[in-house]
Symmetry: C2
Subunit: 108 residues, 2 copies
DNA sequence: CAATTAGCCTAGACAATCTAGGTGAAACGC
DNA sequence: GCGTTTCACCTAGATTGTCTAGGCTAATTG
């Protein structure tokens, strides 16, 4: 119910991850992350759109205009090959770091 | 071996956590986090000292000048009552968010 | 006594997020 | 048919946190 801001630096990872299931438009990406996290994570539009732009610049995702399920014009993003590689990287880094933080929390 | 930068926003939590074991000076805090994370997390001094200052301003930690194990002058920080409360909060938030991110990574 | 280490500190750059707006068009209520 | 809500995208600017890259002093080491 209460919304938590994201951990800085994890947004790209989350976006890449949900796009791995197939192309989605921006709004849907935010909804998907919100739902999958059981409403814990809220992606603000002011964070999302600049992030999508950055990721596109880096060649991780590719946009294409289309129609949303609700009949509106929407920009669908899909993962590029580079994006898939990046997803693997960021996932590994997340696992490493989350584990490391867990270690500190447990043993300090 | 390779150093990873911290996840933005987790530094306070880590510092509070290691101070929960008793007062430490700045340098020792960084070493402790590095060691407990099995060298995965590296706290740069340029991040640490400003963070300590902020946390002190917020009343979470308290400094006291003393002597380090190596006989040098050093500033020892200890948790305040507020700091202990903050530790509990940040820990819960971390758990919630880390779990939520895990959910997304698993099920997207 | 020179060089290294321990320990603290700061200014400035940089990056990511959030706030708080705005736009246009489709759908919905009446 | 007309106003309101919803969908969907976008942006400027402020804020925050970290990093880079220094500098300082005093004690230890060689």
């Amino acid at each position: 119910m209460e919304k938590t801001e994201l951990l800085s630096g994890t947004l790209d990872l989350l976006v890449l991850r949900v796009l791995h299931g197939g192309p989605l438009h921006g709004f849907a990406i935010a909804e998907r992350i919100h739902a999958l996290s059981r409403d814990v994570l809220t992606v603000e539009e002011g964070s999302l759109y600049p992030a999508l732009y950055r990721m596109q610049e880096k060649g991780w995702i590719e946009p294409e205009w289309g129609q949303s399920e609700k009949g509106r014009r929407a920009k669908f993003y899909s993962l590029t090959k580079e994006g898939r590689r990046q997803l693997t990287n960021e996932r590994q880094t997340w696992d490493r770091v989350a584990l490391a933080i867990g270690d500190v929390l447990r043993n300090a």
